[in-house]
């Protein structure tokens, strides 16, 4: 269990994390979401005690992580797959970590096998692809069989098979009763991975709830309509209280369901060629909720 309480971190004048509070429970895969620069990585560093919060507290299993003399049996973490020394072999890297925590050598072979790096164990990490480095980082996180696991953007660089494997691993770890926190800036990555979500933007909490609750939040169904008389139908629907956006060859209607649109069209003898209800996806819910907090926006501001 990870408990984040009123966590704040300022660097000079910028506030990276702002009075953030949430709890990550065992037995679930919790997605940690936010756009680039939202403060995810900073939060994870604060959780691990690598950085000191300006104010607020964070505990893992009821204790500040920094107060533990050895960490691997309490928390397994993959912060950044590149944060390894490229000159070492995978085997040497894991041996160093295992040795420092008095973890038997046998575990090194086990985790190498588990992440599929057994064949590359003697190769220098510098020559690894990003996907292989991610696997190595995951191996390091698993070394101590910890009850809490943190992964920062672990799906980056993995091939589809790797993504599938990692999702399976997350679910298995959660089913074993472990606390699993997985960060990402892509909602689509979380859809089949997490069952709970913590969403942040500009360092503040936007949502902390189950995936279904989150999806329901953003659901503002829209109806796509195609008609040979877009101007006429737009006037008709707007007159009845709907919001209509005119696209290239279709209309997007919000604030009115398909049944009512069909009824109105029939009554006013407007021909419809398409009438489709679209519920907002998780991705859209995420975009909608974080729109105000996006740090780096391409092109014009919304």
């Amino acid at each position: 269990m990870i408990e984040v309480n009123e966590l704040t971190k300022r660097y000079g004048g910028t506030t990276a994390v702002d009075h953030l509070s949430f709890t990550v429970r065992p037995g679930h895969v919790t997605g940690f979401l936010g756009p680039n620069g939202a403060g995810k990585s900073t939060t994870l560093r604060l959780v691990l005690g690598l950085n000191e919060p300006t104010s607020g507290t964070v505990t893992i299993g009821g204790r500040r992580f920094r107060d533990r003399p050895r960490g691997l049996r309490h928390v397994g973490a993959l912060l950044d797959a590149h944060e390894v020394h490229g000159g070492r072999s995978a085997l040497a890297h894991l041996t160093v970590l295992a040795r420092s925590n008095r973890i038997p050598r046998r575990r090194v072979d086990e985790v190498l096998e588990e992440v599929g790096l057994a064949g590359a164990r003697r190769r220098r990490i510098g020559g690894f692809s990003l996907g292989m480095k991610q696997r190595l980082g995951i191996a390091a996180a698993l070394l101590g069989e910890p009850p809490v696991l943190l992964f920062d953007e672990p799906l980056n660089g993995l091939d589809p098979e790797g993504v599938k494997w990692l999702r399976g691993l997350f679910h298995r770890l959660a089913a074993e009763g472990r606390t699993v926190l997985v960060s990402s800036h892509l909602m689509s990555e979380m859809e089949n991975t997490a069952d709970r979500l913590v969403v942040i933007g500009r360092g503040t909490l936007i949502a902390a709830e189950s995936l279904t609750e989150f999806a329901a939040r953003g659901t503002r169904p829209t109806v796509t309509v195609r008609t040979p008389d877009p101007a006429g139908l737009t006037a008709l629907l707007t007159g009845a209280g709907a919001v209509v956006r005119q696209d290239a060859d279709s209309l997007t209607v919000t604030g009115m369901d398909a049944d009512r649109i069909g009824e109105l069209a029939l009554r006013h003898r407007v021909l419809l060629r398409e009438l489709t209800t679209r519920t907002a996806s998780l991705e859209e819910a995420f975009m909608e909720l974080t729109a105000d907090s996006v740090e780096y926006l391409a092109g014009e501001a919304r």
Binding site: G61, V84, G87, P146
Partner: protein, 297 residues
């Protein structure tokens, strides 16, 4: 497949119980007692699992020994005096000992070892490995203390081997002209020990600066400034400058290997020079161990 609500509820309860049991097991992390020697062992593996470190030691040793043996060879080659008197003067002036470990060799040793010491720390900051290290072992000071132990031990052995090899080889070459001295010659052991210990002192200085600065180039520059530049700036002919010079590791080494005792403006004792060595080593170790505690990583 259909399931009655009752049965589903029962199954759910059963699952919850199972999960609760698993959680209870996980909440109780069984952990062996944390031992400092595991950290030392880990740092030992860390040091030797990088081929670049092995090469740095090998090339450093060859360069230092090469400088010394080269000077001895030059002396041997161009030795023209035939009489016993010149040979006696040569030995009395302590020149065989200054050839046993030359100032050039000391310079190379200081640069190489301060770089090796710095790399032990900066290498982790440059790659970000430091965060992996401190996540595995949140007791940061213990990690750094283990690193200090390993670097001190390895570089002391390195310095001893290099100084002993230099002494043996240079005196062997010089004895071809009957101007070599044995290890029990007055001052010989001191030259050997002072030069050997220059290795760990330089390495610890590099580590301390690396821990404070965290960037390769800036750390190397700081090393060069302290070990080479400051001794040049603070020449020993004014009192205040002499005091600064005597407080530097390079100044201490020069004092310790000075067997000839030419009169200088501001003389100082051997004990003073050994103390300077000890203080630099100790202060560097303390800085390396303590400065990681409060800063963000």
């Amino acid at each position: 497949m259909t399931t009655t609500p009752d049965r589903a509820a029962a199954a759910a309860t059963e699952m919850e119980t199972a999960t609760a049991t698993a959680r209870a097991d996980l909440a109780q992390v069984t952990e062996p007692r944390a031992r400092f020697r595991d950290l030392v062992a880990a740092e030992w593996v860390k040091l030797w699992s990088l081929r670049s470190n092995t090469w740095a030691f090998v090339i450093g040793a060859l360069a230092v020994i090469g400088f010394n043996v080269g000077t001895a060879w030059d002396t041997y080659r161009y030795w023209t005096a035939q009489d016993a008197r010149s040979r006696a003067d040569f030995v009395r002036d302590g020149i065989p000992l200054s050839i046993a470990f030359t100032a050039n060799a000391a310079m190379v040793l200081m640069l190489a070892l301060s770089a090796i010491g710095a790399t032990a720390v900066v290498g982790e900051y440059r790659t970000g490995m430091i965060r992996t290290t401190f996540t595995a072992v949140p007791a940061r000071r213990s990690v750094m203390a283990a690193k200090v132990c390993v670097v001190t031990a390895v570089t002391t052995v390195f310095g001893t081997v290099v100084a002993a090899a230099s002494f043996g080889l240079t005196q062997a070459v010089l004895s071809g002209r009957h101007i070599g001295v044995p290890i029990d010659h007055p001052g010989a052991l001191r030259v050997l020990v002072a030069s050997a210990l220059l290795a760990p002192v330089s390495a610890l200085l590099g580590m301390a600066l690396g821990t404070l600065i965290r960037h390769s180039a800036a750390t190397m520059t700081a090393n060069v400034v302290i070990l080479l530049l400051l001794p040049l700036v603070f020449s020993a002919d004014r009192h205040w400058a002499a005091v600064v010079d005597h407080a530097l590791p390079t100044g201490a080494w020069i004092r310790l290997v000075d067997v000839d005792r030419q009169p200088v403006a501001y003389p100082w004792t051997l004990t003073g020079a050994w103390t300077v060595y000890a203080i630099w080593a100790l202060a560097a170790a303390v800085v390396a161990v303590t400065s990681v505690q409060r800063r963000d990583q």
